[in-house]
């Protein structure tokens, strides 16, 4: 199996889908956060692949760098929120956080 663009894209798609399904099924806030990480990672795979196999050049890699940075930031913040939530509710079950229910 030779590395190719479509191969990379396929991997990105699988990672993305897994992340989405993870987000949708985890009740644990941290699990949800992991799903997000997976989604971002899938996108990163795509960007890098484009950078490698198309005319995008170095731009794709730089985008993925930014995404990684933002993912880190987001993770930090999300974890802070999760901790806060935990402090307030003594749980991190996101289904309990339904104050926005219409």
């Amino acid at each position: 199996m030779q590395p190719s663009l479509s191969g990379y894209l396929l991997i990105g798609a699988v990672l993305f889908t897994c992340g989405v399904v993870c987000m949708a099924t985890r009740r644990n806030a941290i699990g949800v956060l992991m799903g997000v990480e997976l989604v971002l990672n899938g996108a990163n795979v795509n960007l890098v692949a484009f950078s490698r196999y198309t005319t995008l050049g170095i731009d794709g890699q730089i985008y993925s760098l930014f995404i990684i940075v933002l993912a880190a930031a987001e993770a930090a913040l999300a974890l802070a929120i999760a901790l806060n939530f935990y402090n307030n509710h003594l749980t991190i079950d996101v289904d309990k956080a339904s104050s926005l229910k219409g």
Partner: protein, 819 residues
């Protein structure tokens, strides 16, 4: 000379106005109410006016070397005396003169308007057959201011006309309206007559109105609501102020140089008449009579106005001289008509214009309608008897001598503009009027009413005279009538004063013992109006003037036999006139007193009232002395339009208008008939009222129907009330109803409709538009509400939704845009 005359007459004209202003403004204050000075002021004004007028007449006469009289001398020579009938032999010799006059028609030169510059020119040839008058005329012309440019056109002119403008009222391009003067012998005679009679009446009024000289006048004819008589302040000054204003207006009317100006003063005398009739403002009958007089005059003036409109539109001028010059007449005096009955006017500015002949008739009838109103002719005669509500001097001055004669004066003044058809109408109106009024006078018992009807009747005579082409005859009667009728009115005033405001003749009788001067002067007037005379020896003025009219009428019906009524009626009425006038005299002054109370308190009037009687009596008797050869007639005839003398034969309408010659032929015949009728009337009156040989009451009973008909004045008042007054009120109420109900109704309906529409609008607004808005809001809300179940607040579901959404979006994209 023109300037002199103008100045004198204008002084005579304006002095009363000055007097009026002073009296009305200064009179009512404080104790001035009880002084006589307003009266003396008025007398001074009008007296000075008389002196001015008289001197103007004399200046005019001497300025022309009395050419009027001299020119008639030849005429005289031709017809030595009226009763002399040998003049028929002279006729053939006169014809050449006729012819030459016709071959050289005297056309006035195209007048150039001159402001304030008296110009004179030749308008008339007083007597076409006076062949040797030519010389005199030339002499006359030589004596006047400047040689006439038209004197060369020669034939026998005599009278001078001075006319010019006093000031301009307005000018619109070529249309100019101004206050003018027009002075000829007629003007001068009228001025003299009016001022003289007015002076006498002013004097009389000082006595007659003296009971107004108080602060506490008791009017016995007015009852107040508490049952007593009305007490009010005296109004002596006001009476004389109004008299002065009237004199001013009347003189302005006579002096007027254009028909519009005549209309102005026409209305002014009308309002003076209104004020004077309604002098006793508290009496309802008086104010009603005043209204009636003015409104009926206005009806006539409506016609006058139509005449004015026609004249103004077609002639573009109102000045007598221009109008007369504009209307083309051929040598025989016929109005020249074109192929289609149009008349080519020669306008003063040199242009020409075609006027339909019918419009000339309309113009003439219109102007004459004014005369009908003012001179109380049929069918507008009913106001004059009612006008006797005014004080007696007013009746004497305004409603017999001057104002009511103004209609006749205007007919005479405007004579050249009347085409034969109009003249025929004039004649018939005069004939109907004189008969109708005389019959009513026969049964009237109020002494002033008798005189009033007599006045109407006599005015009818004048109008008839003018209508049958007796220009000078009609105006002659105007002057003589003015004298004797004012005399009689003053006499009746004296009687009323002497009997303490008793006017019913049925309560008088035998008063000649109590008031001899009045009785005697009244008798003079009665004889004068009755037309009695001893032929060849003595004849009072009425005889001469009435004679002239009857003669003209006879000549007229000889030429136009179909119109025999025009002679028959005046002849018959001559008898009736004599009858009712003598009836009046007998009932009042002769016989036994019918009412002892009245008789016992009757007394002769003071000198200030009898003096005017004594002045007027000789004038009434002898002013016309000499008849058609006398001074007065000649003076008047001097202003006669030039085509009148020769007569006009067979005009377009088939009428033949008699000339002087034709009239002369029948003069003695007519005179005899008239005299017979008068004597018959007199005798009848004497038999019925003087001798008591026949009981009048029996006659009344036998002819009760006729009597009632006459005492109700032929039911004219009732007729007019039913025909005009009530309908006018109905229409007025109807129009007011339309206004309040229909038009305002529409407005209100529109308003209500608007309100209704607004209500609907409001409903629409509240229900529909607001509803729609609310619906949108509610729908949005409920839709949002319905989505709230989606808004679970659960993070994971949201993720699912996003994913499902993306999937759905992709599905849509792929299915919609397949590769």
């Amino acid at each position: 000379m023109g300037d002199t005359l103008k100045t004198l007459l204008m002084i005579a004209w304006l002095l009363p106005l000055f007097g009026f202003a002073v009296e009305i403004l200064w009179g009512p204050r404080g104790d001035r109410r009880t002084t006589r000075w307003p009266a003396w002021m008025a007398v001074a004004c009008i007296g000075s006016g008389f002196l001015c007028s008289l001197s103007a007449l004399l200046i005019w006469g001497s300025g022309t070397d009395w050419a009027v009289l001299q020119s008639h001398d030849s005429h005289d020579a031709g017809h030595a005396a009226p009763s002399d009938t040998h003049h028929e032999g002279v006729e053939p010799q006169e014809h050449p003169a006729h012819e030459s006059a016709q071959q050289n028609p005297i056309r006035p030169t195209a007048p150039v308007r001159a402001n304030d510059a008296a110009r004179w020119h030749l308008t008339t040839a007083a007597d076409g057959h006076a062949s040797d008058a030519h010389q005199n005329a030339h002499t006359a012309a030589g004596h006047t201011d400047s040689p006439s440019d038209s004197a060369a056109s020669s034939h026998g002119q005599v009278p001078l006309v001075y006319h010019g403008t006093i000031y301009r009222l307005a000018a619109f391009g070529s249309l100019i309206l101004s206050i003018d003067y027009y002075i000829d012998s007629l003007t001068l005679v009228m001025f003299t007559m009016v001022t003289l009679i007015a002076t006498c009446i002013h004097l009389f009024a000082i006595g007659y109105m003296s009971d107004e000289l108080t602060d506490e006048y008791v009017d016995h004819f007015v009852h107040t609501s508490d049952g007593g008589h009305l007490h009010r302040q005296g109004r002596f000054y006001r009476f004389f102020a109004f008299l002065s204003l009237f004199c001013f207006s009347m003189l302005g009317l006579v002096l007027a140089g254009n028909i519009f100006q005549v209309f102005i003063f026409w209305e002014l005398v009308g309002i003076c008449s209104y004020l004077l009739i309604g002098f006793y403002t508290e009496r309802h009958s008086a104010s009603t009579a005043a209204n009636k007089a003015f409104i009926m005059n206005r009806v006539g003036d409506f016609g006058f106005l139509i005449g004015l409109m026609v004249i103004w539109t077609w002639f573009g001028t109102f000045q007598f001289s221009d109008l007369f010059a504009s209307l083309p007449r051929d040598d025989a005096g016929r109005v020249v008509t074109g192929e289609y009955g149009e008349v080519a006017l020669a306008l003063p500015d040199g242009s020409s214009k075609q006027i339909p002949y019918t419009l000339l008739v309309v113009a003439g009838l219109g102007v004459f309608a004014g005369c009908i109103g003012k001179s109380a002719q049929f069918p507008l005669q009913t106001w004059l008897p009612d006008a006797m509500e005014g004080p007696t001097p007013v009746s004497a001055l305004v409603h017999s001598a001057t104002m009511v004669a103004a209609g006749v004066y205007l007919t005479g003044r405007f004579y050249p503009m009347f085409v034969p058809e109009v003249l025929l109408v004039i004649a018939y109106i005069g004939a109907v009027t004189l008969f109708l009024a005389a019959t009513i006078a026969v049964v009237a018992t109020d002494i002033k009413k008798v005189l009033a009807y007599s006045t109407i009747s006599q005015l009818g005579y004048m109008v008839l005279g003018l209508g049958v082409f007796g220009w000078a005859a009609g105006l002659f009667h105007l002057i003589t009538h003015a004298f004797f009728k004012s005399l009689m009115f003053l006499c009746s005033g004296s009687v009323i004063h002497g009997c303490h405001h008793e006017q019913e003749m049925t309560r008088m009788g035998g008063l000649r013992h109590r008031m001899p001067i009045t009785a005697f002067t009244m008798l003079v007037g009665v004889i004068a109006i009755a037309g009695l005379s001893i032929p060849g020896l003595i004849a009072f003025s009425g005889y001469h003037s009435k004679d002239a009219i009857v003669a003209t009428a006879l000549a007229f019906i000889q030429a136009n036999p179909g119109h025999f009524l025009l002679f028959l009626l005046p002849l018959l009425t001559a008898g009736i006139t004599a009858f009712y006038m003598f009836r009046l005299w007998f009932m009042t002054f002769a016989g036994e007193p019918r009412d002892a109370h009245v008789y016992d308190h009757a007394h002769e009037s003071p000198w200030i009232m009898t003096l005017p009687l004594l002045i007027l009596a000789p004038l009434a008797a002898f002013c016309a002395t000499g008849g058609e050869d006398g001074l007065l007639y000649r003076l008047l005839a001097g202003s006669e339009p030039n085509y009148v003398a020769a007569g006009v034969s067979s005009t377009a309408s088939g009428l033949t208008l008699p000339g002087h010659h034709a009239i002369h032929e029948v003069h003695s015949t007519a005179g005899t008939w008239a005299l017979v009728a008068a004597i018959a009337g007199t005798l009848l009156a004497w038999v019925l009222y003087g001798t008591k040989a026949v009981r009048v009451e029996d006659m009344k009973r036998q002819m009760a129907g006729l009597h009632r008909f006459l005492t109700h004045k032929w039911y004219f008042d009732e007729l007019y009330d039913a025909l005009f007054v009530q309908p006018v009120h109905q229409v007025a109420r109807f129009f007011a109803w339309i206004d309040r109900t229909l038009i305002d109704g529409i407005v209100h309906f529109a308003a209500r409709l608007t309100v209704l529409a607004s209500r609907w609008d409001r409903l629409f607004d509240e229900l529909f538009i607001d509803g729609l808005v609310n619906l949108v809001g509610r729908a949005t809300f409920s839709v949002g509400r319905s989505f709230h179940v989606v808004q679970t607040g659960r993070l994971r579901q949201y993720v699912m939704f996003i994913v499902v959404g993306v999937v759905a979006l992709f599905a849509v994209l792929f299915t919609t845009f397949p590769r």
